[in-house]
Protein backbone atom coordinates (compact mmCIF):
# COMPACT_ATOMS: atom_id res chain seq x y z
CA UNK A 1 0.00 0.00 0.00
CA UNK A 2 1.40 3.39 -0.95
CA UNK A 3 2.10 5.58 2.03
CA UNK A 4 0.98 9.14 2.35
CA UNK A 5 4.27 10.89 3.10
CA UNK A 6 3.86 14.61 3.70
CA UNK A 7 6.62 17.06 2.86
CA UNK A 8 9.21 17.46 5.61
CA UNK A 9 7.72 20.58 7.17
CA UNK A 10 4.20 19.18 7.04
CA UNK A 11 5.46 15.97 8.62
CA UNK A 12 7.10 17.88 11.46
CA UNK A 13 3.92 19.89 11.91
CA UNK A 14 1.96 16.68 12.29
CA UNK A 15 4.46 15.41 14.86
CA UNK A 16 4.33 18.66 16.75
CA UNK A 17 0.53 18.69 16.83
CA UNK A 18 0.53 15.01 17.80
CA UNK A 19 2.70 15.78 20.81
CA UNK A 20 0.17 18.44 21.80
CA UNK A 21 -2.80 16.09 21.33
CA UNK A 22 -4.25 18.27 18.58
CA UNK A 23 -4.63 15.84 15.68
CA UNK A 24 -7.78 14.60 13.97
CA UNK A 25 -8.31 10.81 13.85
CA UNK A 26 -7.25 10.80 10.18
CA UNK A 27 -4.05 12.65 10.97
CA UNK A 28 -3.34 10.25 13.81
CA UNK A 29 -3.37 7.40 11.31
CA UNK A 30 -0.90 9.24 9.12
CA UNK A 31 1.44 9.81 12.06
CA UNK A 32 1.16 6.19 13.03
CA UNK A 33 2.17 5.18 9.49
CA UNK A 34 5.04 7.66 9.43
CA UNK A 35 6.49 6.36 12.66
CA UNK A 36 6.19 2.74 11.59
CA UNK A 37 9.82 1.85 10.95
CA UNK A 38 10.95 5.07 9.25
CA UNK A 39 14.17 5.87 11.11
CA UNK A 40 14.38 9.42 9.78
CA UNK A 41 10.81 10.17 10.86
CA UNK A 42 11.39 8.63 14.26
CA UNK A 43 14.53 10.73 14.77
CA UNK A 44 12.69 13.87 13.79
CA UNK A 45 9.85 12.98 16.14
CA UNK A 46 12.24 12.32 19.04
CA UNK A 47 14.06 15.56 18.41
CA UNK A 48 10.82 17.56 18.43
CA UNK A 49 9.75 15.72 21.54
CA UNK A 50 12.94 16.72 23.37
CA UNK A 51 12.67 20.31 22.25
CA UNK A 52 9.10 20.49 23.46
CA UNK A 53 10.09 18.90 26.77
CA UNK A 54 12.89 21.44 27.22
CA UNK A 55 10.37 24.25 26.80
CA UNK A 56 7.88 22.70 29.17
CA UNK A 57 10.52 22.05 31.80
CA UNK A 58 11.59 25.65 31.94
CA UNK A 59 11.35 26.71 35.58
CA UNK A 60 8.24 28.65 36.46
CA UNK A 61 8.87 31.92 38.24
CA UNK A 62 6.95 33.10 41.23
CA UNK A 63 5.28 36.41 40.57
CA UNK A 64 6.68 39.15 42.85
CA UNK A 65 4.30 39.44 45.79
CA UNK A 66 3.96 43.20 45.46
CA UNK A 67 2.18 42.73 42.13
CA UNK A 68 -0.73 40.86 43.68
CA UNK A 69 -3.57 42.11 45.83
CA UNK A 70 -3.61 40.47 49.26
CA UNK A 71 -6.65 38.56 48.09
CA UNK A 72 -8.57 38.94 51.32
CA UNK A 73 -12.11 40.12 51.53
CA UNK A 74 -12.00 43.31 53.58
CA UNK A 75 -15.31 45.16 53.58
CA UNK A 76 -17.07 42.35 51.82
CA UNK A 77 -17.03 40.24 54.98
CA UNK A 78 -19.44 42.56 56.75
CA UNK A 79 -21.74 42.69 53.76
CA UNK A 80 -21.57 38.91 53.64
CA UNK A 81 -22.65 38.59 57.25
CA UNK A 82 -25.47 41.04 56.65
CA UNK A 83 -26.76 39.08 53.68
CA UNK A 84 -26.20 42.05 51.44
CA UNK A 85 -24.12 40.43 48.73
CA UNK A 86 -25.68 39.48 45.44
CA UNK A 87 -25.57 35.80 44.54
CA UNK A 88 -22.39 35.74 42.45
CA UNK A 89 -20.47 37.83 44.91
CA UNK A 90 -21.80 35.70 47.73
CA UNK A 91 -20.49 32.57 46.05
CA UNK A 92 -17.09 34.13 45.58
CA UNK A 93 -16.89 35.11 49.21
CA UNK A 94 -18.03 31.70 50.36
CA UNK A 95 -15.42 30.05 48.20
CA UNK A 96 -12.73 32.36 49.52
CA UNK A 97 -13.75 31.83 53.14
CA UNK A 98 -13.54 28.09 52.67
CA UNK A 99 -9.96 28.41 51.43
CA UNK A 100 -8.62 31.26 53.55
CA UNK A 101 -8.09 30.81 57.28
CA UNK A 102 -7.32 34.53 57.74
CA UNK A 103 -10.71 35.50 56.38
CA UNK A 104 -12.46 32.75 58.35
CA UNK A 105 -11.03 34.18 61.55
CA UNK A 106 -11.90 37.71 60.46
CA UNK A 107 -15.43 36.58 59.65
CA UNK A 108 -15.76 34.97 63.05
CA UNK A 109 -14.56 38.11 64.83
CA UNK A 110 -16.87 40.27 62.79
CA UNK A 111 -19.79 38.04 63.60
CA UNK A 112 -19.07 38.27 67.32
CA UNK A 113 -18.81 42.04 67.13
CA UNK A 114 -21.94 42.24 65.08
CA UNK A 115 -23.88 40.06 67.50
CA UNK A 116 -22.64 42.12 70.41
CA UNK A 117 -23.79 45.35 68.78
CA UNK A 118 -27.15 43.92 67.88
CA UNK A 119 -27.66 42.63 71.39
CA UNK A 120 -27.55 46.16 72.82
CA UNK A 121 -30.91 47.21 74.24
CA UNK A 122 -32.92 49.69 72.20
CA UNK A 123 -33.03 53.27 73.48
CA UNK A 124 -36.37 54.09 75.06
CA UNK A 125 -37.04 57.80 74.47
CA UNK A 126 -40.47 57.84 76.12
CA UNK A 127 -39.06 57.85 79.64
CA UNK A 128 -37.35 61.24 79.50
CA UNK A 129 -38.99 62.82 76.51
CA UNK A 130 -35.56 63.83 75.27
CA UNK A 131 -34.22 63.14 71.80
CA UNK A 132 -31.12 61.04 72.11
CA UNK A 133 -27.98 62.23 70.39
CA UNK A 134 -27.60 58.89 68.69
CA UNK A 135 -30.39 57.69 66.41
CA UNK A 136 -32.64 55.26 68.18
CA UNK A 137 -33.10 51.70 67.02
CA UNK A 138 -35.65 51.68 64.19
CA UNK A 139 -39.15 50.36 64.82
CA UNK A 140 -39.43 46.60 64.98
CA UNK A 141 -41.23 46.26 61.66
CA UNK A 142 -38.33 47.96 59.88
CA UNK A 143 -35.71 45.94 61.64
CA UNK A 144 -37.27 42.63 60.91
CA UNK A 145 -36.08 42.07 57.36
CA UNK A 146 -32.68 43.41 58.19
CA UNK A 147 -32.24 41.21 61.21
CA UNK A 148 -33.73 38.16 59.56
CA UNK A 149 -31.49 38.38 56.53
CA UNK A 150 -28.47 39.28 58.54
CA UNK A 151 -28.81 36.63 61.20
CA UNK A 152 -29.65 34.10 58.54
CA UNK A 153 -26.48 35.00 56.72
CA UNK A 154 -24.57 34.82 59.96
CA UNK A 155 -26.03 31.39 60.61
CA UNK A 156 -24.98 30.22 57.19
CA UNK A 157 -21.55 31.74 57.59
CA UNK A 158 -21.15 30.21 61.02
CA UNK A 159 -22.32 26.85 59.76
CA UNK A 160 -19.85 27.07 56.95
CA UNK A 161 -17.01 28.18 59.16
CA UNK A 162 -17.85 25.65 61.83
CA UNK A 163 -17.77 22.91 59.25
CA UNK A 164 -14.58 24.12 57.70
CA UNK A 165 -12.63 25.00 60.81
CA UNK A 166 -13.65 21.88 62.70
CA UNK A 167 -10.93 21.12 65.24
CA UNK A 168 -7.49 22.67 65.23
CA UNK A 169 -6.13 25.38 67.41
CA UNK A 170 -8.31 28.15 66.08
CA UNK A 171 -11.13 29.13 68.40
CA UNK A 172 -14.05 26.98 67.32
CA UNK A 173 -17.06 28.69 65.89
CA UNK A 174 -19.73 27.08 68.02
CA UNK A 175 -22.58 25.86 65.93
CA UNK A 176 -24.57 25.04 69.07
CA UNK A 177 -24.14 28.55 70.37
CA UNK A 178 -25.19 30.02 67.09
CA UNK A 179 -28.14 27.67 66.83
CA UNK A 180 -29.29 28.65 70.31
CA UNK A 181 -29.18 32.31 69.40
CA UNK A 182 -30.87 31.59 66.18
CA UNK A 183 -33.69 29.54 67.67
CA UNK A 184 -34.26 32.21 70.31
CA UNK A 185 -34.55 34.85 67.63
CA UNK A 186 -36.78 32.68 65.48
CA UNK A 187 -39.17 31.99 68.37
CA UNK A 188 -39.32 35.67 69.27
CA UNK A 189 -39.99 36.77 65.73
CA UNK A 190 -42.56 34.81 63.73
CA UNK A 191 -41.54 34.77 60.10
CA UNK A 192 -37.88 34.95 60.90
CA UNK A 193 -36.13 33.07 58.11
CA UNK A 194 -33.64 30.37 58.83
CA UNK A 195 -31.83 31.19 55.64
CA UNK A 196 -32.57 34.09 53.34
CA UNK A 197 -33.71 33.26 49.85
CA UNK A 198 -30.85 32.48 47.56
CA UNK A 199 -28.46 31.70 50.38
CA UNK A 200 -26.35 28.70 49.58
CA UNK A 201 -23.84 26.96 51.72
CA UNK A 202 -20.95 25.64 49.74
CA UNK A 203 -19.14 22.81 51.36
CA UNK A 204 -15.54 22.13 50.49
Amino acid sequence: MARLVPASDARGELFSAYLDGQLTPEELKVVSQLLDGDIGAIQEFRSLQRTRAALRLLPEFEIPANLLPDGHLGDRLSAYLDGELVTMEHRRVTRHVVDCSDCRIALQELDRARIAVRSLPGVDTTMTGETPAIAAVPPRSHRKRFVAGGIGAAAAAALLVGLVVGGGDEPAFSLDDLSTRHVARASAEPGFAVLPAGMEIALP
Binding site: G12, S16, L58, R92
Partner: protein, 169 residues
Protein backbone atom coordinates in the same frame (compact mmCIF):
# COMPACT_ATOMS: atom_id res chain seq x y z
CA UNK B 1 -13.02 28.89 34.68
CA UNK B 2 -16.56 28.33 33.40
CA UNK B 3 -17.90 30.46 30.59
CA UNK B 4 -20.72 32.10 32.56
CA UNK B 5 -18.50 33.19 35.41
CA UNK B 6 -17.14 36.71 35.62
CA UNK B 7 -14.33 36.94 38.16
CA UNK B 8 -13.23 40.01 40.04
CA UNK B 9 -9.90 41.53 39.12
CA UNK B 10 -8.51 40.18 42.39
CA UNK B 11 -9.52 36.69 41.28
CA UNK B 12 -7.76 37.29 37.99
CA UNK B 13 -4.65 38.53 39.74
CA UNK B 14 -4.52 35.56 42.07
CA UNK B 15 -5.36 32.97 39.48
CA UNK B 16 -3.56 34.23 36.40
CA UNK B 17 -0.90 36.66 37.67
CA UNK B 18 1.78 34.02 37.77
CA UNK B 19 0.97 32.76 34.28
CA UNK B 20 0.99 36.27 32.86
CA UNK B 21 4.29 36.96 34.58
CA UNK B 22 5.88 33.81 33.16
CA UNK B 23 4.43 34.51 29.72
CA UNK B 24 6.04 37.93 29.71
CA UNK B 25 9.29 36.72 31.21
CA UNK B 26 9.72 34.03 28.58
CA UNK B 27 8.92 36.44 25.77
CA UNK B 28 11.26 39.15 26.99
CA UNK B 29 13.79 37.40 29.22
CA UNK B 30 13.48 40.35 31.55
CA UNK B 31 11.88 40.28 35.01
CA UNK B 32 11.24 44.02 35.07
CA UNK B 33 9.36 43.89 31.78
CA UNK B 34 7.40 40.91 33.06
CA UNK B 35 6.40 42.79 36.21
CA UNK B 36 5.41 45.84 34.15
CA UNK B 37 3.24 43.66 31.96
CA UNK B 38 1.44 42.08 34.90
CA UNK B 39 0.61 45.53 36.28
CA UNK B 40 -0.57 46.75 32.91
CA UNK B 41 -2.71 43.67 32.29
CA UNK B 42 -4.33 43.83 35.72
CA UNK B 43 -5.09 47.48 35.16
CA UNK B 44 -6.72 46.72 31.83
CA UNK B 45 -8.62 43.80 33.33
CA UNK B 46 -9.92 46.01 36.13
CA UNK B 47 -11.17 48.55 33.62
CA UNK B 48 -12.44 45.93 31.19
CA UNK B 49 -14.39 43.75 33.60
CA UNK B 50 -17.22 46.30 33.74
CA UNK B 51 -17.93 45.73 30.08
CA UNK B 52 -16.92 42.07 29.93
CA UNK B 53 -19.66 39.81 28.58
CA UNK B 54 -19.47 36.29 30.01
CA UNK B 55 -17.97 34.02 27.37
CA UNK B 56 -14.49 32.68 26.81
CA UNK B 57 -12.78 34.38 29.71
CA UNK B 58 -9.34 32.97 28.96
CA UNK B 59 -9.52 34.09 25.36
CA UNK B 60 -10.47 37.58 26.55
CA UNK B 61 -7.72 37.67 29.15
CA UNK B 62 -4.96 36.49 26.83
CA UNK B 63 -6.02 38.95 24.14
CA UNK B 64 -5.63 41.71 26.71
CA UNK B 65 -2.29 40.28 27.79
CA UNK B 66 -1.01 40.03 24.26
CA UNK B 67 -2.16 43.52 23.35
CA UNK B 68 -0.57 44.94 26.47
CA UNK B 69 2.65 43.12 25.65
CA UNK B 70 2.70 44.37 22.06
CA UNK B 71 1.95 47.91 23.21
CA UNK B 72 4.90 47.62 25.58
CA UNK B 73 7.15 46.50 22.73
CA UNK B 74 6.02 49.43 20.61
CA UNK B 75 6.78 51.82 23.45
CA UNK B 76 10.23 50.29 23.90
CA UNK B 77 10.96 50.51 20.19
CA UNK B 78 10.49 54.24 20.47
CA UNK B 79 13.16 54.32 23.20
CA UNK B 80 15.34 51.24 22.64
CA UNK B 81 17.40 49.65 25.37
CA UNK B 82 19.24 46.37 25.68
CA UNK B 83 17.41 43.61 27.52
CA UNK B 84 19.53 40.55 27.91
CA UNK B 85 18.23 37.50 29.71
CA UNK B 86 19.56 37.21 33.21
CA UNK B 87 19.10 33.49 33.65
CA UNK B 88 16.84 31.53 35.89
CA UNK B 89 18.76 32.17 39.05
CA UNK B 90 15.78 32.86 41.28
CA UNK B 91 14.06 29.61 40.50
CA UNK B 92 16.77 27.32 41.82
CA UNK B 93 15.89 24.82 44.48
CA UNK B 94 18.10 24.09 47.44
CA UNK B 95 18.53 20.34 47.11
CA UNK B 96 20.33 19.76 43.77
CA UNK B 97 24.11 19.52 43.73
CA UNK B 98 26.14 22.49 42.48
CA UNK B 99 26.86 20.65 39.23
CA UNK B 100 23.18 19.96 38.68
CA UNK B 101 22.36 23.54 39.44
CA UNK B 102 24.90 24.80 36.95
CA UNK B 103 23.69 22.37 34.29
CA UNK B 104 20.10 23.40 34.92
CA UNK B 105 20.93 27.08 34.66
CA UNK B 106 22.90 26.55 31.48
CA UNK B 107 20.08 24.52 29.96
CA UNK B 108 17.30 26.94 30.77
CA UNK B 109 19.51 29.88 29.86
CA UNK B 110 20.17 28.22 26.55
CA UNK B 111 16.45 27.64 25.93
CA UNK B 112 15.62 31.17 27.03
CA UNK B 113 18.22 32.85 24.88
CA UNK B 114 17.18 30.71 21.90
CA UNK B 115 13.54 31.62 22.48
CA UNK B 116 14.46 35.28 22.24
CA UNK B 117 15.95 34.71 18.81
CA UNK B 118 12.71 33.36 17.34
CA UNK B 119 10.50 35.61 15.23
CA UNK B 120 7.86 37.13 17.51
CA UNK B 121 4.89 35.22 16.06
CA UNK B 122 6.62 31.88 16.55
CA UNK B 123 7.89 32.77 20.01
CA UNK B 124 4.47 33.89 21.13
CA UNK B 125 2.78 30.73 19.87
CA UNK B 126 5.39 28.48 21.47
CA UNK B 127 5.27 30.31 24.80
CA UNK B 128 1.47 30.31 24.92
CA UNK B 129 1.47 26.59 24.17
CA UNK B 130 4.44 25.28 26.15
CA UNK B 131 4.82 27.79 28.96
CA UNK B 132 1.27 29.02 29.55
CA UNK B 133 -0.37 25.74 28.52
CA UNK B 134 -3.13 27.02 26.23
CA UNK B 135 -4.73 24.78 23.60
CA UNK B 136 -4.43 25.60 19.90
CA UNK B 137 -8.01 26.90 19.93
CA UNK B 138 -7.30 29.21 22.86
CA UNK B 139 -4.12 30.50 21.22
CA UNK B 140 -6.03 31.12 18.00
CA UNK B 141 -8.60 33.14 19.91
CA UNK B 142 -6.00 35.09 21.85
CA UNK B 143 -3.88 35.91 18.81
CA UNK B 144 -6.75 36.30 16.36
CA UNK B 145 -5.43 33.88 13.75
CA UNK B 146 -6.81 30.56 12.45
CA UNK B 147 -5.99 27.34 14.31
CA UNK B 148 -4.02 26.10 11.30
CA UNK B 149 -1.76 29.12 11.55
CA UNK B 150 -1.25 28.46 15.25
CA UNK B 151 -0.28 24.89 14.53
CA UNK B 152 2.16 25.95 11.87
CA UNK B 153 3.71 28.65 14.07
CA UNK B 154 4.18 26.29 16.99
CA UNK B 155 5.90 23.74 14.82
CA UNK B 156 8.13 26.25 13.07
CA UNK B 157 8.98 27.84 16.37
CA UNK B 158 10.00 24.51 17.89
CA UNK B 159 11.92 23.56 14.79
CA UNK B 160 13.90 26.79 14.78
CA UNK B 161 14.45 26.48 18.50
CA UNK B 162 15.86 23.01 18.05
CA UNK B 163 18.32 24.38 15.50
CA UNK B 164 19.31 27.23 17.81
CA UNK B 165 19.90 25.16 20.91
CA UNK B 166 23.53 24.37 21.60
CA UNK B 167 22.87 21.09 23.36
CA UNK B 168 21.99 18.06 21.23
CA UNK B 169 18.33 17.36 20.61
Amino acid sequence: MTDDFTPTWEDVAQRYGRKIYNFAYRLTGNPDDAADLVQEVLLRVRKGLDSYQPGSFEGWLWRITRNAFLDGIRRKQRRPESALPEGDHHSLGSSPSPDEVLASVRLSDDVQSSLLKLPYDYREAVVLCDVVGLTYDEIAEATDVPVGTVRSRIHRGRKQLRELLTWPV
